[in-house]
Amino acid sequence: MRGCSDTVSGVPMRPGRGFAVSQQTVLTAFMVLALFPIVLMWLTALKTSAELATNPFGLPEQWRFDNFAETWRQGNFAVYLRSSVIVVVPVVAGALALSVLAGYAFGRFRFRGRGVLFAVFLLGIMVPTEGLIIPLYYFMDDLSLLNTYWALILPQIALSTSFGAFWMRAFFADVPGELVDAAAVDGAGPLTTLWRVLLPLARPALGTLSVLLFMWTWNEFLLALVLVQDESVRTLPVALSFFQNQYTAQVPLLAAASTIVSFPILVIYALLHRRFIEGMVAGSVKG
């Protein structure tokens, strides 16, 4: 993001000391806003209910790490975690593979019906899940897939691919044509070009897409609530909601459950955030 701090809406300006200070202040304020609920959740998860009533914002007097173990046991989270993983892995892998292939086709090839087909893909982004859920329910019922992992995996691959194809198309369309031409002259076919030349360059875009897909799939609630009733196939977000209804009074246990459910997202983001940011700003900085 070089050039960001010294350019405001295209007009070059010399950032003074005051600018730097106010910039830091604003960023710090945003950071506090973003972190406050998370930290509060962690602190709450480590207190007793009694202590929470008297000391809601301070550090716990006694750090109750047992809360996590208790929540894990009582909420049966081992089962749900397993379900979540079983759903997330094929969804992210499948959607990534299909997004790359579809994005490559839309971004680099001219074929009849490309515009119409791409518009159909975009529908997947524009129609909210709420609008799809009832037809989807009957569809899954017809296929006898209700209450199976497939009911969660297949629709989410489809929905994710519509965004993923859109995302990857933007990347592939931006790759300089000469690079693809050079690969063609060097004897590479379309798939070799994709695999050896374009995908290595697409790493930031792929990284960002993986994080987004992981996040969306991990957090998916509505599909998991409606298409699956069987407890053995239930995923973490739905389990969390059931847990919440059962333990309304036990706020620290709820906080612990939330911490458990959100933990993988935080880890993935922490590991990949550099990639993630790279992908988000790719194309916005030219030259």
């Binding site: 300089p176 000469e178 690079l179 031409d181 050079a182 690969a183 063609a184 002259v185 060097d186 004897g187 590479a188 076919g189 070799t192 050896r196 030349v197 290595p200 360059l201």
Partner: protein
């Protein structure tokens, strides 16, 4: 090594633009052939059609008696250097150079050897482990050339490979390319919009306009006898003097002054013909007193070229340029004569050289356009 034959090759884009128009061309084995023209003349499209990166609308591309018109680029046995080099940013120099070999399943040791040879040839030996992003423009350009030569194709295609280098480096790279091509003797098609590059490098060149070849000749011929006003105004680092004239009683009348007819044009014109007189600034001489066969004017601008000056002389509504050993102060009255052996006459209506076949309708009209532009400069 290869011979390239194009048979009524046409490339029409979906929008209706005809970039290459029924073009016939023969490029000899081992020849360094330049395609020159202003932007939009179809030269790059022509090169890309030879490469197979664009599909020909009609016509044929034949390499060594084999019709390759429908073959994908990778099967045409060509090496290509692009304007922006198109190096693979994620690969080292060595991997870039070896990539065409890798795709063609040459085994690892052999391709390392071939890549190292090509790199050595282009003084890249030290840089094999670097990535393109860590190289200067000139080095990137050499890597692109090395990638094209490493697998020893039978045809090289260059698409304005020097246009991203700064002026000094460009001349160095030019000399280098010419030597390299002479050494390995591979047939080369070189696209450029820079006439000096085409003149310097090519064995033979085609000057293109609107998807057609306007002149096909050696650089010497194109420089000395441009066959139309379009080529005349396009070739030469200094614009050619192009002056409206009329043939009167076996001589030329240029804005009231009389000039004798160039000897080899005399038989092709008759009294009353409206023509354009052309002569390069290099063949003009300045006199400080009245002489015969001269156009009179005053020095308006003097520009230093190095060991000589380019003087712009204006008078009687004419503007002429002449190269002179000495500068003259602005306003100096001078008489300009032109070396008769290097004067040309063009028909004013279609822009063709007098005595040459007439140019067909649509192109004749805009033959005038570049001359007007050149005169205004």
């Amino acid at each position: 090594m290869a011979r390239v034959t194009l048979r009524s090759l046409t490339k029409r884009y979906p929008g209706g633009v005809t970039a290459v128009d029924a073009l016939d061309l023969e490029i000899a084995d081992g020849e360094f052939f330049a395609l020159l023209g202003p932007s939009g003349c179809g030269k790059t499209t022509l090169l890309r059609t030879i490469a197979g990166l664009e599909a020909a609308t009609t016509g044929q591309v034949i390499i060594d008696d084999v019709d390759v018109t429908r073959l994908p680029p990778g099967d045409r046995d060509i090496g290509m250097v692009f304007q922006d080099y198109a190096l693979y940013p994620h690969m080292t120099v060595q991997d870039n150079i070896a990539y065409p070999l890798k795709v063609r399943k040459v085994n690892k040791d052999e391709r390392r050897g071939m890549a190292a040879d090509a790199a050595g040839n282009l003084q890249l030996g030290e840089l094999l482990e670097r990535r393109p992003g860590q190289l200067s423009g000139g080095q990137q350009q050499r890597v692109a050339v090395a990638r094209a030569i490493a697998y020893q194709p039978r045809l090289f295609l260059f698409d304005e490979p020097l246009s991203n280098l700064d002026a000094q480096l460009r001349v160095e790279a030019r000399t280098f390319l010419k030597r390299l091509q002479a050494e390995i003797g591979v047939t080369t098609v070189y696209v450029t919009h820079d006439q000096s590059e085409a003149l310097a490098l090519a064995d033979r060149m085609a000057v293109m306009q609107r998807g057609r070849v306007r002149q096909l000749a050696t650089p010497e011929e194109v420089y000395r006898r441009p066959n139309s006003l379009f080529v005349a105004s396009f070739i030469g680092s200094m614009p050619m003097n192009l002056l409206d004239a009329e043939v009167v009683d076996g001589a030329l009348d240029i804005a009231g002054s009389r000039l004798s007819l160039p000897p080899d044009s005399a038989e092709h014109v008759t009294s009353g013909d409206r023509v354009v007189f052309g002569s390069r600034p290099e063949f003009a001489t300045l006199h400080d007193e009245p002489v015969d066969n001269a156009l009179e004017g005053q020095v308006a601008v003097a520009e230093l070229l190095g060991n000589s000056y380019l003087l712009t002389v204006e008078g009687s509504g004419l503007q002429m340029r002449a190269v002179a050993a000495e500068a003259a102060p602005n306003g100096t009255r001078v008489w300009v004569t032109f070396d008769e052996a290097n004067c040309l006459l063009y028909r004013r209506d279609d822009g063709g050289l007098v005595g040459s076949p007439r140019v067909e309708g649509d192109e004749a009209v805009d033959a005038d356009a570049p001359r007007v532009a050149a005169a205004r400069q």
